[in-house]
Symmetry: C2
Subunit: 422 residues, 2 copies
């Protein structure tokens, strides 16, 4: 069993020692003597420990498209993305996901919830990088009967493959959205998930267009359409949920749905920004944060996401006290783990050892009157020096094994997704 | 005359050499041979050069208060800030400004526009750090006759002192706002500024309360009130300008006023966010960006400010094409220099040598399909490795001379501004 002993680190306003054994935090105390000759000892002086971030909605391999579509109106942007995606292959997904993992590790994310094509490549890349990931098999058929049957078949196969995955990779069902997946397959997918005890990752009510089309077609909101299909439970991870009415909020709350807010993407694509953070939480939903894919963000930085989430909530509500710091930090950490039934994203004995060691000897934490405020509003992710996931060091002093090879491969490959001859 | 030769650096899509002589960029070419034995040669491989950022509205020494007031309603927040400011002294302003300079240098700002008390200390701190600064003598009397007379006297003295300042420090007149400065002193200050050819730095239309009170008192908007006093010209640097009507926009445009947008502060204090970026620019105003003070942001990072500015503009306008990248970058760089009649904030022969060398060998710039998009939306300020201001290196490989001493002094002093016995 691997052991890591972090000595003399700032936690909750005082200096502590933290012992990690196997994949969990086994002890936190004023002083823990190193009685294990094999333990890796990390010096925590001038540093603090924070929980790993849980990025609860992204499309990792889209890092390959970083900066390819800028300042474009939504339909042109989307058409451009879809056109690029016709050229996806295993190699692009594998190296794109690896680049995403580099970025997530550098910015302190230890667990992420992915929805993209060629899930086997994403899992391989993520496990090799040492990150914890939930990977969706994606349903997206646009009503095409042939596709519908093929996807059910492939889902079954992907599920069987997933039984061989390691303990840090979670298989789940991705239902792209109600406007891209046939009702028949939505029902099939939910049934399959229920039978195999899998989570479901779905986009809901992202744009006003989705809302309007749903009302026109079904005479109800997207949330009510899915409620009528009987699919809501705490096994649902619902991304976006920007366009909700009071009834939708009550529905999502009642079923304890995990709702993922992706502020940067919602702002950049002008999808809407009046996310009902407090109302949903009050109703009983579990609020998580996500970055969405790089094509609409353009990074995977959860620290930046926390800051922008809080600033925008304060602004549109005209209330500087909206979204308080502890609530905000929970939504970026433990709530994401909770969505998948994992005891992680927090620093306590017994929790998963998914955490970051951050440098607080710099200007961003000076003065250190309010640590949480400095973390969210002042600092950037470059304060993150060492990242531990599942009890293993995945970055030390900002060095990640294999980083240069990953960047080199992305530079070699990205022209292919743009349709350039390379 | 000092010389710096930057070899083989990425600029406008290709590799260039850049020669700096004295305080200016003297040559940009595919290849410049080093014929100067005294030149400092910097290796630009894997790096790009970008203009220095111009932070056109801040209160530098407020770094001392970082994180002291969080998640508070506006009136409570403001009362807390003012209470702290009663304890200001020279030492607090000096070291607070030094910390601000460390932060600005680390995030690539080479020129900033300050409005705070004890201007002599701020200038001393800023010149020692090698940054270019515009420093306001602040009028703020709340109608107190004694204060009014004293401030006029002190302004005269401060102006005389400023004649001994070095070439990188600019003296200007700060008029806090129309609700904190008597009309008599507003007029005196503007007259003084005109006589001595000084710029004026003023908060205008920051909150809806300011607008409503102005309408109640003067039956017109803050902009029209000042227009009636005859004060607008291109010598005005007007911070915020959130609450404007069409007439106000036309007035600010007609006089080519420099308007500074401070998105983070406006969001965090819930002052309003529907800044009329495009309308003001179309009308003829010079749009600049600022961070405002650390007490309402909580950092001085212009890269973060660019991203959030653009995201919020796209969102509230429901237009993903709003604020295009070149326009955004100009507002954070050259437009600020232009406000003070300086030929800087851009990379061209003859311009002031205020620039940064940034690392583009990292994930944030991979792939490098769109450099500007990567700079604004993907990267953070930790990509900035070397900063040159007025032809001198103020940071090299993220090392700033004296940084540790500054952090130590801030840690020693900040309790004093909180009213703690230290």
């Amino acid at each position: 069993m691997g052991r890591i002993l972090i000595k003399d680190i700032y936690l909750d306003g005082k200096q502590s020692d933290i012992l990690i054994e196997g994949s969990r935090i086994s002890r936190i105390s004023d002083r823990i003597d190193n009685i294990y000759p094999d333990a890796t000892v990390l010096d925590g002086r001038g540093k603090a420990v924070i929980p790993g971030f849980a990025n609860m909605h992204t499309h990792a391999a889209m890092t390959m498209m970083r900066g390819s579509k800028e300042d474009e109106k939504l339909h042109k942007w989307l058409a451009g993305i879809w056109e690029m995606e016709t050229r996806l292959d295993d190699e692009l997904v594998y190296w794109g996901t690896k680049l995403a993992c580099v970025e997530m590790i550098k910015t302190g994310t230890t667990f992420y919830n992915d929805q993209y094509f060629r899930v086997g490549e994403a899992v391989k890349a993520t496990s090799e990088m040492g990150l914890r990931g939930a990977h969706s098999f994606v349903f997206l058929d646009c009503g095409d009967k042939e596709k519908m049957a093929l996807q059910r078949e492939n889902c079954q196969k992907a599920y069987e493959d997933s039984l061989k995955w390691g303990s840090t990779s979670i298989f789940e069902i991705g239902v792209h959205s109600i406007y891209t997946v046939s009702e028949e397959n939505i029902l099939w997918a939910f049934d399959f998930a229920r039978k195999h005890n899998l989570k479901i990752h779905i986009h809901i009510a992202e744009t006003s267009q989705e809302l309007e089309e749903c009302i026109e077609k079904y005479s109800c909101t997207p949330v009510q359409y899915l409620e009528n299909l009987g699919i809501f439970s705490e096994d649902i991870i619902a991304a976006h949920c920007i366009w909700l009415d009071g009834n939708d909020i009550a529905t999502l709350g009642m079923h304890r749905v995990n709702v993922v807010h992706n502020i940067n993407s919602n702002l950049k694509l002008a999808s809407g920004y009046k996310f009902k953070f407090q109302e949903l939480e009050d109703a009983g939903a579990n609020i998580c944060l996500g970055t969405d894919g790089v094509a609409s963000n353009n990074n995977l930085d959860m620290m930046e996401t926390m800051k922008i989430t809080a600033l925008v909530q304060k602004a549109w509500r005209k209330d500087p006290s909206a979204v308080r710091l502890p609530q905000l930090i929970s939504s970026a950490t433990r709530n994401g783990y909770k969505a998948f039934g994992l005891d992680g994203g927090l620093i306590k004995e017994g929790a998963l050892a998914d955490l970051s060691i951050i440098d607080i000897s710099n200007y961003a934490f000076t003065p250190n009157i309010n640590f949480d405020a400095n973390l969210v509003y002042s600092a950037h992710s470059d304060c993150i020096s060492t990242v531990i996931c599942d009890g293993r060091i995945v970055m030390e002093d900002r060095q990640i094994a294999g980083e240069e090879e990953i960047l080199t491969n992305v530079r070699r490959l990205y022209g292919r997704i743009l349709g350039q001859t390379i």
